[in-house]
C-alpha cells in the first residue's frame, strides 16, 4: 500500500533529481558546454511547459464532462507552431536582436520603450498567473491525497489539524528554492537559464511518459480499444449539443493566443531560444508532442466512467483508474507525472513573472524615487537579483494565498481558461506591433486597459462570485442594479457561453480602441524608430537604429553605469570587445552612437528596455532622434525590395540583349567574310583585263617595227579589255548603288510584256550570231505592274543573254513564257543549255560568291548580272529565282506583283 511517507519520499527523491540535473546542466553550460542550448529537442520539450497539471489531470476530467472540447486547447497551439515561419520566427528574431526579456518588455519596447505599457502588461500577467499557480498547488495537493489515500504516520503530525500533510505549502517552498537557485543564479544579459531548461525538458518527458503508460495500461486492461468504447460509451462521451459551435472556435482561438501570450510560453519560446533554427524542429515536433499527450485522454476518460463508481472525481481519473486496478506503482508514476507538470509550470511562470516585476515595477521605482537612495548606492546588479528573488517569493505567496482562499470552491478548475482569456488581451497590441507600422503607444494602452477591464468584469468577477458570497447581486442584476450591465449578458448580449461572451466583448473593445487610438494619436520619434525596427525586423541590419539615434556620452560614465549593472568583468569585456571592433589599440572604445546603442541593449537585456533607456539617458547628453533617418530606414527597406525587383527585370533584359548581340555578331562575321570574298574576287576580276591591257601596251611600246596589222590587233584587244573593265566597274557601281538604296528610278504602271518584247529584240543580234532560236509565248491577259521599264528590260536582257551565251547545245533554244498567276505576273526564261550544275541557288545570286567562277569560267560577262537582276527584282517587290536546273537546261523565273 502506498502511504503518504512513501509518496513524499519518492517525490523528494524526484525533486532531488531535478536539482541535480539543473545543477549539472548549469555547470556544463558555464564551462562552455552548450549542448543544452544547441539541442532543438530540448527546446521543443521545454515549450511543453504549456501542458500543466491542468492538462495532465484536467484534460481527462474535461473529456469526461464535455467530450471532445478538451482537444481545442491543443489544436490552437498546433496551428500556431505549424505557421512558425511567419509569426514565431519574427518574434524570436526581434527577441534576439533587441534582447527582449519578457512579453512586457517586447510590448513596451515596440511602443517607444514605454514603461506604463510594461507595467500594465506585468500587472495583467500577475493577475492571470497567480490563480493558475494556485491551480497547480491544488492539483498537487489533491493528487497527493488521492494517491496516498490520506494515510500518513510519519508526516501526519506535520500539518496543524492532523488531517494530512500540507503538500501545497511544501511544494511552494520547494519550487521557490529551485527557482531562486537556478532562475536567479546570476544576471544573464539574455535571461537564459540552461539549468531550468534542462530540468523542465526532463519533466516534459516524465509527464508524457506517465500519461502514455496510463493510457496503454487502460487499453490493455480492457483488452483493446473495441472493449473500451462501446457504441453507448462513444455516444455518452462525444455526443453533445452543438459540439462545434462558437465555444469550439473560441477555445481554439484562445489556446492559439495563449501559446504566444502566456508569460511562461513567451519565456521558453522566445527568451530562452538559443537559435532561430530550433523553431524548424519545434514547428512540427511540438504539435506531435501535443498529439501524443491527447492520444489517450478519451480512453482514460472512458475507462474512468466505466470502472469507477458514479460521482468519482473525473479530474483524478489518471490516478484513480490505475489504483482501481491495483496498479500502485503506475499510480505513483502518474502522480510523479502530474507533479512534474505542476512544478515545471510554477518554475517557469515564476521566472518569467519575476523578470517582469523586477524590470518593470521595481527598477522604475528605484530609478524614480531617488530619495530611497537605492539607485545611487552602487551595485545595481545585486539589487536586480534581490528584487527577482523577492518577486519569486511574492508570486508563490500570492499563489498560495489564492489557493487557501478558494480551495474549497470549484472556482479554481475554471481558472485555466480565465487566465487564457486574460493574457489574450496582449494579442492585439502584440500583432499590431509586429505588423502595423502606425500602431501607437496610446492605442496599445487604451486597448489593453479596456480589454482587461471588460475581461475582469465579464469573466473574472463571475468566477469569484460562483459560491455566492461576493458580488452575487451584481452578477444577477448588473452593476448598480442596471440590467444592461449584467456581467454575463453585457448590453443585452445573451444566449452565449460566458467565455465566448467575455472574449467577444473584451477583444472587440481592445482591438477597436487600439486601432482608433493609433489613428488619432501621433507617434513620438522614438516610437517611430522602434516601430520601424520591429515591423521590418527581417530587413534592417542589427545596429541600424544607431544611425537615427544621435547622442554622446563620456566613456567613463558609460563604464561606471555598465559595471554597476553587468558587473565589472562583463562590462570590461564588453568595452574591450567593442574597442577591438572599432580598431582601437588602447582598449577604450569611442562612445559613438553605435556603441551607446549596443550598450543600451545589453543593459536592456538585464533590466528591460524602458529602464535601460532611463539609465542611459542619465549619462548621455544632447540626444536627438533624427526623423529623416527613420524615414530613410523605412524607405531603404522599401528601396531594397524595389531595387531587387528592378535588378531582376534588368538581368532579364540584359539576357535578351546579349542574345540579340550574339546573333548580330554572327551576321556581321558572315557579312565580313562575304566582303572579303567580294574584294578578292573584284580585285582578281579587275586584274585579269588590266594585266592583258598592260602586257599588250608594253608589247606595243617596246616593239618598234611591229607590222601594222598586228599592232592594230593588239590595240583592238586593249580596247576590248578596257570595255570589259568599264562594264565591270559599271556593274559594281550599279550593284552598290542598288544595295545601298541610293538609286531612285521612275515608277510607272506598265505592261511588263512590252519589256519582254524589248529585251528579246535587244538580244536578237547576239542570238543570230550564235544561232540560238528565241521563242516567246505572251500571256493572254494584259497584266499591269508597277515598275521601271528600263530596269525590267535590264533583268530580262541579262537572263536572255545568259541563256544564249552559256548555251552549248547543238540545237540551242531559248524560250520565254509569260503567265499571270494569283500571286502575280511571271516570266520564265528557259534554255536547253548545260544547267547551273550543283551550285547553291543563293550563291548563284550573290556577287562574286564562291562558285560563281565555276559558272562563268571562260566566258565573257562580269558575273554580277544575276546579283544585280535579283536586287532589281527585290526592289520591285518581286523575286528572281532559279526554278529548274538539270543537264538538259535550266529555267529562271521572275515574279512581279500585279499593280493594284
Amino acid at each position: 500500500m502506498l502511504t503518504a511517507d512513501v509518496v513524499v519520499t519518492i517525490a523528494l527523491c524526484y525533486v532531488g533529481l531535478l536539482f541535480l540535473l539543473a545543477f549539472l546542466s548549469d555547470r556544463w553550460s558555464r564551462r562552455g558546454n552548450n549542448w543544452i542550448r544547441n539541442s532543438p529537442l530540448l527546446y521543443t520539450l521545454s515549450i511543453s511547459v504549456y501542458c500543466t497539471s491542468w492538462t495532465f489531470y484536467g484534460a481527462v476530467g474535461s473529456a469526461a464532462r464535455n467530450g471532445l472540447e478538451f482537444i481545442t486547447i491543443y489544436l490552437g497551439p498546433t496551428l500556431v507552431f505549424l505557421g512558425w515561419w511567419y509569426l514565431l520566427r519574427k518574434l524570436v528574431r526581434i527577441g534576439h536582436v533587441n534582447r527582449i526579456s519578457s512579453i512586457a518588455d517586447l510590448i513596451s519596447s515596440r511602443y517607444g520603450k514605454s514603461n506604463t505599457l510594461a507595467v500594465i502588461v506585468t500587472l495583467i500577467a500577475v493577475i492571470g498567473t497567480t490563480p493558475y499557480i494556485a491551480l497547480q498547488l491544488k492539483a498537487v495537493t489533491t493528487s497527493f491525497e488521492v494517491v496516498s489515500g490520506g494515510r500518513g504516520d510519519l508526516l501526519g503530525n506535520l500539518s496543524g489539524d492532523g488531517t494530512g500533510f500540507d503538500a501545497a505549502l511544501w511544494v511552494a517552498v520547494g519550487m521557490a528554492l529551485f527557482t531562486i537557485l537556478f532562475g536567479t543564479r546570476n544576471l544573464d544579459a539574455n535571461e537564459q537559464h540552461p539549468g531550468v531548461v534542462a530540468a523542465i525538458a526532463f519533466e516534459a518527458l516524465v509527464k508524457l511518459l506517465a500519461l502514455l503508460l496510463v493510457g496503454l495500461y487502460v487499453v490493455f486492461s480492457f483488452g483493446g480499444l473495441e472493449n473500451l468504447f462501446s457504441e453507448e460509451m462513444s455516444k455518452r462521451l462525444l455526443e453533445r449539443e452543438n459540439v462545434f459551435g462558437s465555444r469550439w472556435a473560441v477555445l481554439t482561438f484562445l489556446s492559439a493566443t495563449a501559446i504566444i501570450c502566456l508569460p511562461r510560453e513567451f519565456q521558453v519560446t522566445v527568451v530562452e531560444n538559443a537559435r532561430e533554427s530550433h523553431l524548424r524542429t519545434a514547428g512540427w515536433l511540438f504539435p506531435a508532442y501535443l498529439l501524443l499527450i491527447c492520444l489517450f485522454v478519451l480512453p482514460i476518460a472512458a475507462a474512468g466512467l466505466t470502472r469507477l463508481p458514479e460521482g468519482a472525481n473525473p479530474d483524478m481519473f489518471v490516478l484513480t483508474v490505475p489504483m482501481a486496478g491495483n496498479q500502485e506503482m503506475l499510480a505513483l508514476f502518474a502522480f510523479i507525472g502530474g507533479f512534474s507538470s505542476a512544478t515545471s509550470m510554477v518554475i517557469v511562470a515564476c521566472i518569467a513573472l519575476s523578470i517582469m516585476i523586477s524590470n518593470h515595477i521595481v527598477m522604475p521605482v528605484v530609478l524614480r524615487l531617488r530619495w530611497l537612495g537605492l539607485y545611487d548606492s552602487g551595485d545595481l546588479k545585486t539589487l536586480v537579483l534581490f528584487s527577482r528573488r523577492f518577486s519569486i517569493l511574492l508570486i508563490l505567496f500570492l499563489g498560495l494565498l489564492y489557493y487557501r482562499l478558494s480551495a474549497q470552491t470549484e472556482a479554481l478548475a475554471a481558472m485555466g481558461l480565465i487566465a487564457f482569456a486574460g493574457v489574450a488581451q496582449f494579442l492585439p497590441s502584440l500583432l499590431a506591433g509586429l505588423y502595423w507600422r502606425q500602431a501607437t503607444a496610446r492605442g496599445a494602452k487604451l486597448g489593453l486597459i479596456a480589454g482587461v477591464l471588460l475581461w475582469a468584469y465579464t469573466l473574472l468577477l463571475p468566477s469569484l462570485a460562483e459560491d455566492g458570497t461576493f458580488f452575487a447581486d451584481t452578477i444577477a442584476h448588473g452593476l448598480f442594479g442596471l440590467e444592461m450591465l449584467r456581467p454575463e449578458a453585457l448590453f443585452g448580449l445573451t444566449g452565449f457561453d460566458p467565455l465566448v461572451h467575455a472574449i467577444v466583448w473584451s477583444l472587440t473593445a481592445n482591438t477597436a480602441l487600439l486601432i482608433a487610438g493609433s489613428l488619432f494619436s501621433e507617434m513620438a520619434p522614438l516610437e517611430r524608430l522602434q516601430s520601424a525596427l520591429f515591423v521590418d525586423a527581417f530587413r534592417n541590419a542589427p545596429g541600424d537604429e544607431s544611425r537615427a539615434l544621435v547622442r554622446s556620452a563620456a566613456i567613463d560614465d558609460l563604464r561606471l553605469l555598465s559595471r554597476r549593472i553587468l558587473g565589472s568583468d562583463k562590462a570590461d569585456r564588453l568595452f574591450l570587445d567593442f574597442a577591438q571592433r572599432q580598431g582601437r589599440d588602447d582598449g577604450v572604445p569611442v562612445a559613438d552612437n553605435a556603441f551607446i546603442t549596443h550598450l543600451e541593449r545589453q543593459i536592456g537585456g538585464n533590466v528591460g528596455a524602458a529602464s535601460a533607456r532611463v539609465m542611459i539617458s542619465e549619462v548621455v547628453s544632447g540626444e536627438t532622434i533624427s526623423f529623416d533617418e527613420i524615414i530613410r530606414m523605412v524607405d531603404e527597406t522599401q528601396q531594397v525590395i524595389e531595387y531587387s525587383q528592378a535588378l531582376e527585370a534588368n538581368s532579364r533584359t540584359l539576357h535578351q540583349t546579349a542574345a540579340q548581340l550574339r546573333q548580330a555578331n554572327q551576321r556581321l562575321m558572315r557579312l565580313d567574310n562575304e566582303k572579303d570574298d567580294f574584294l578578292s574576287q573584284v580585285s582578281h576580276e579587275l586584274r585579269t583585263p588590266m594585266t592583258s591591257i598592260r602586257s599588250f601596251a608594253e608589247a606595243l611600246l617596246k616593239a618598234d617595227e611591229m607590222p601594222a596589222a598586228q599592232a592594230k590587233r593588239f590595240m583592238g584587244i586593249i580596247h576590248d579589255e578596257s570595255l570589259r573593265l568599264t562594264s565591270l566597274l559599271d556593274d559594281i557601281l550599279d550593284l552598290s548603288h542598288l544595295e545601298s538604296g541610293e538609286v531612285r528610278w521612275q515608277v510607272e504602271h506598265l505592261d511588263p510584256e512590252s519589256a519582254v518584247t524589248n529585251a528579246i529584240a535587244a538580244c536578237e543580234g547576239l542570238a543570230t550570231e550564235t544561232g540560238v532560236v528565241i521563242t516567246c509565248t505572251p500571256s493572254a491577259a494584259g497584266p499591269v505592274v508597277e515598275g521601271n521599264r528600263d530596269r525590267l528590260s535590264q533583268i530580262l536582257i541579262n537572263l536572255i543573254s545568259n541563256a544564249i551565251k552559256y548555251n552549248d547545245s547543238p540545237d540551242p533554244r531559248v524560250h520565254v513564257a509569260c503567265e499571270v498567276h494569283s500571286d502575280g505576273w511571271q516570266v520564265h526564261v528557259r534554255d536547253n543549255g548545260p544547267g547551273a550544275g550543283d551550285v547553291e541557288p543563293d550563291q548563284l545570286f550573290s556577287k562574286f560568291a564562291r562558285g560563281w567562277r565555276q559558272i562563268a569560267k571562260g566566258r565573257s560577262g562580269t558575273g554580277l548580272g544575276l546579283a544585280i537582276s535579283a536586287e532589281i527584282a527585290r526592289r520591285h517587290g518581286g523575286e528572281l529565282a532559279l526554278t529548274e536546273t538539270s543537264d538538259n537546261g535550266s529555267c529562271f523565273t521572275l515574279t512581279l506583283p500585279l499593280a493594284p
Binding site: 471532445l68 482537444i71 496551428l79 505549424l82 473500451l228 468504447f229 462545434f244 538559443a274 498529439l291
Partner: protein, 90 residues
C-alpha cells in the same frame, strides 16, 4: 519547389488546418460510430492532426535546405557587425 512557393505553402498550412477542424468540415465528419473500436470523429481529428504534422515536418525540412541566408547567429551575439551603408552614393 522554388523558395517563394515553399514560403507560401508554410503560410497556408495553418489556415488549411484551421478550415479542416472548424465547422462545417468537422461537422461533416462527426460520427460516434465505431471504426475498429475508435469513434469516427476521433479518427478524423487525429488523422487531420497527423497529416498536418507530417506536412509541417516536410515543409520545415525543405525550408532548411532552401536556406534562409539571414539566419541570426546564436545568442549571445557578439556586437553586431557594423554594416557599411551605401550612404556615399546617395
Amino acid at each position: 519547389m522554388p523558395r517563394q512557393k515553399l514560403r507560401d505553402a508554410a503560410f497556408i498550412l495553418p489556415f488549411f488546418g484551421l478550415i479542416l477542424i472548424m465547422p462545417p468540415f468537422v461537422d461533416i465528419f462527426f460520427s460516434t460510430r465505431l471504426l475498429g473500436g475508435i469513434p469516427g470523429i476521433l479518427l478524423y481529428i487525429f488523422g487531420v492532426w497527423t497529416m498536418l504534422i507530417v506536412l509541417g515536418a516536410i515543409l520545415s525540412r525543405r525550408l532548411i535546405t532552401d536556406g534562409d541566408a539571414a539566419e541570426t547567429p546564436p545568442r549571445p551575439m557578439q556586437p553586431p557587425p557594423q554594416q557599411e551603408r551605401p550612404d556615399a552614393d546617395r
